[in-house]
């Protein structure tokens, strides 16, 4: 009996050994959920079917934040995946931790040629080291736009979707006059209201060129046009042009728009696909986020997430992960990704290939490349490369809580933003102290 058992065990071991000799596996944890999560899984299946050397084991982690949280916990227990989809706000911590394998280096080590110059500069700058080398691989990329109800705009006599806030305000007034109760479904979102607004206006969010030049940065957004903008938003609400629409208040801004209750809402271009799927009963379109009159419009920056290769894995796993990343960088993969989600292409070649096909001329993709126009409006300058601040999740949370307090009438908008800056600066100081003596790669 005992020998029989032992033989059986040996046989199992042998087959397991044979199986793993066939394919090199690596783990990939991603944060996207729902429809988008399914498309991520689909890219893994396509990769696994495309060759027989490697196998990507892809695990959804139920949200960006959880993906990073779970990976940190796993990393401390040395059970982490090779590849992680990490969102923009997690970038600073990861960069300073040094616990990653820069993709630029990895591709070089495994002799995989990637034309790095092919990436849009607005995307490249966000994910590169100060020397211009890619530390993580751009993946799902977006930028904000605003969505508007064409029919309600026509009824109010607005012929062109405004590109300035002054024009926006006139449009809100016209919509109100035409009997539209809610012109603008507003939900406080620092990514749009603060970060992308500051990029488009070429004003700083923080000193040290938004944190790129050192850890001793201080927030500056209570001194810029951002204050006026937030005061204007508050005024739109008080005057009855805008309404706060959040999931907690019963209906998100997007749902309010799709159901025709509100005429305008701001969101990532990634929602373009979702809005289509929700099939609104009216014609709609998108436009670049507005700027104030008298400002020269600048580029917005990339949002979304990128793929990080984590430290502490075997060469075989790195090789497999590199093959997967190279697979994702092919134009075919890019087209698959872009056409099945609302995200934008990250490479110039990928974009050109789509343009040649007339991809953006036909529904449902029409005008989706306005996001690319916004992203590439100017060459990224020192203030429009992006934001590289530590504790950025907490800074966003402070901003949101204070803005909510101001909107609820507990303090003025200026007081709220001053408090958010002061508290955010405390977080930055703690962050700099935590990573004393280190600097961004």
């Amino acid at each position: 009996m005992k020998t029989k058992f032992a033989t059986a065990a040996l046989a199992v071991l042998a087959t397991a050994g044979a199986a793993s000799a066939e394919k090199t596996k690596f783990e990939y944890w991603y944060g996207l959920t729902g429809d988008l999560g399914k498309v991520v899984l689909e890219t893994c299946n396509r990769f696994n079917a495309s060759q027989d050397q490697y196998e990507a084991v892809c695990v959804g982690q139920d949200g960006y934040e959880k993906a990073v949280q779970n990976t940190i916990a796993a990393f401390r227990a040395k059970q982490h995946p090779t590849l992680l989809q990490s969102f923009d706000a997690g970038t600073a911590d990861l960069m300073l931790s040094g616990q990653f394998y820069p993709v630029h280096q990895m591709m070089k080590d495994f002799d995989i040629t990637i034309d790095w110059a092919n990436y849009f500069p607005g995307i490249a700058n966000y994910y590169s080291s100060s020397k211009g080398d890619f530390v993580s691989m751009p993946f799902n990329s977006s930028t904000p736009v605003y969505y508007f109800n064409k029919e309600q705009f026509e009824k109010a006599g607005i012929t062109e979707a405004p590109l300035t806030w002054e024009g926006m305000e006139a449009a809100f007034k016209a919509l109100k006059a035409s009997g539209q109760e809610c012109a603008y479904a507003y939900a406080p979102d620092s990514w749009i209201d603060l970060e992308q607004f500051s990029m488009a206006h070429n004003v700083p969010v923080a000193s040290n060129n938004n944190g790129y030049d050192g850890l001793d940065s201080e927030l500056l957004f209570n001194t810029t046009a951002h204050v006026k903008h937030m005061e204007d938003v508050q005024r739109y609400i008080a005057d009855g042009y805008a309404q706060v629409r959040t999931p907690q208040s019963g209906k998100s801004a997007r749902d309010s728009f799709v159901e025709g209750e509100c005429s305008v809402f701001f969101s990532s271009i990634a929602d373009h696909n979702t809005v289509h799927k929700l099939k609104p009963a009216f014609a709609w379109d998108v436009q670049m986020i507005p700027v104030y009159e008298g400002t020269e419009r600048h580029n917005t920056v990339v949002g979304g997430a990128s793929l990080w290769v984590l430290a502490g894995k075997s060469d075989d796993e790195y090789k497999a992960a590199a093959a997967y990343l190279a697979f994702l960088a092919t134009p075919e993969s890019e087209e698959f990704w872009v056409s099945n989600t609302g995200y934008i292409p990250v490479t110039k070649a990928g974009y050109q290939a789509l343009l040649d096909k007339g991809f953006y001329n036909a529904e449902p993709y029409k005008n989706r490349d306005l996001a690319l126009k916004s992203l590439t409006f100017t060459e990224p300058g020192p203030l429009t490369r992006g934001i590289r601040l530590g504790s950025f999740i907490q800074i966003r949370a402070e901003w949101k809580a204070e803005v909510e307090a101001a909107l609820a009438g507990q303090k003025t908008m200026k007081e709220a933003l001053d408090t958010a800056v002061a508290r955010g600066n405390d977080h930055l100081k703690r962050f700099a102290q935590t990573y004393q003596g280190k600097s961004f790669p």
């Binding site: 931790s97 959040t246 907690q248 208040s249 019963g250 909510e404 977080h427 703690r430 102290q433 935590t434």
Partner: protein, 293 residues
């Protein structure tokens, strides 16, 4: 009173070992780690930390939003405990008096305890939703009267009600068991002396229940401080404007969402000390009034 003793102490130690091991792995070890982190600045991805002494505690105690979190937690703990225990005592007394259908009530009242906190939160999110829920009727009568997403105290009321509702079941079981262990002869004797149900409740049953009341009080207060996370997370997310940012939720949002492991560790040390101090006070001063039979 006679007590049994083990002749050799190593048997006792052996029997205790599994339990001690579990407590060590799941309590003492993590707590020791938290104490260490509380005095350092820990890098989230590992790779080193800096000793900062009491800086983390100083920062926390100087933060006005932390004190508002403490205040909200105390209000929540007291209100939810009082509400849960009051409701469950009344319900237990009804069931104990065997009003019609009491068997069905007994089962139905125990159920809520089996429901996970996030599910409770979602159910109450619907009930209290200002636009779509049951409470939206309030707003159709007087528009803008009910909006826990904007008005802080209303948000606090929502989590207190949800928390209390979940705790009613637990207290109910204990109250009912205690009520049923009161000898029938006492109640009957009182009834023969002419005491009506309410008088019997006040003079007879409540005094005999004090050990249970005390036990439930300690458990409920402790639970309100440490186990309210799921309800806050699904119902309010700590908002609006920190109005429902309970201490335990703040630990989560600073530590796990904000990657400030050290600040969160220091906060959990403060919370632990607070709960221990409360329990000590309860045993030292409140227990004196409890009569065990």
């Amino acid at each position: 009173m006679r007590r049994a003793y083990f002749k050799t102490s190593w048997i006792a130690a052996l029997l205790l070992a599994p339990q001690l091991l579990i407590i060590f792995v799941f309590f003492y070890w993590p707590s020791a780690q938290a104490v260490y982190w509380a005095f350092t600045l820990e890098q989230p991805w590992g790779g080193g930390n800096t000793w900062v002494g009491f800086d983390n505690f100083r920062n926390i105690l100087a933060d006005p939003y932390y004190w508002s979190s403490v205040r909200v937690s105390v209000i929540y703990a007291i209100a939810a405990t009082a509400l849960a225990m009051g409701m469950s005592l009344i319900l237990a007394m009804f069931v104990d008096r065997q009003l019609a259908g009491y068997k069905a009530y007994r089962v139905a009242l125990i159920w809520p305890y089996a429901i996970a906190a996030p599910a409770v939160g979602l159910a109450f999110r619907f009930i209290f939703n200002p636009n779509a829920g049951i409470f939206s009727y309030v707003n159709t009568v007087i528009p803008g009267l009910w909006d826990p997403t904007q008005i802080g105290w209303q948000a606090l009321v929502t989590i207190i009600l949800a928390g209390a509702w979940k705790h009613v079941a637990y207290s109910f079981i204990f109250f009912l068991a205690a009520l049923q262990s009161i000898p029938r002869s006492l109640t009957e004797a009182a009834a023969m002396d002419g005491a009506r149900p309410l008088r019997r409740m006040i003079d007879l049953q409540l005094p005999l229940l004090t050990p249970t009341v005390f036990f439930l009080f300690v458990i409920n207060i402790t639970d309100s401080f440490t186990d309210s996370f799921g309800i806050v997370d699904t119902l309010t997310g700590g908002g609006p404007f920190h109005a429902t940012d309970l201490m335990v939720y703040k630990i989560y949002s600073d530590g796990f969402r904000g990657f400030d492991y050290s600040g969160a560790a220091a906060q959990s040390i403060i919370l632990m000390v607070l709960v221990m101090a409360l329990t000590f006070v309860q045993f030292r001063y409140v227990e004196r009034r409890v009569h065990y039979t």
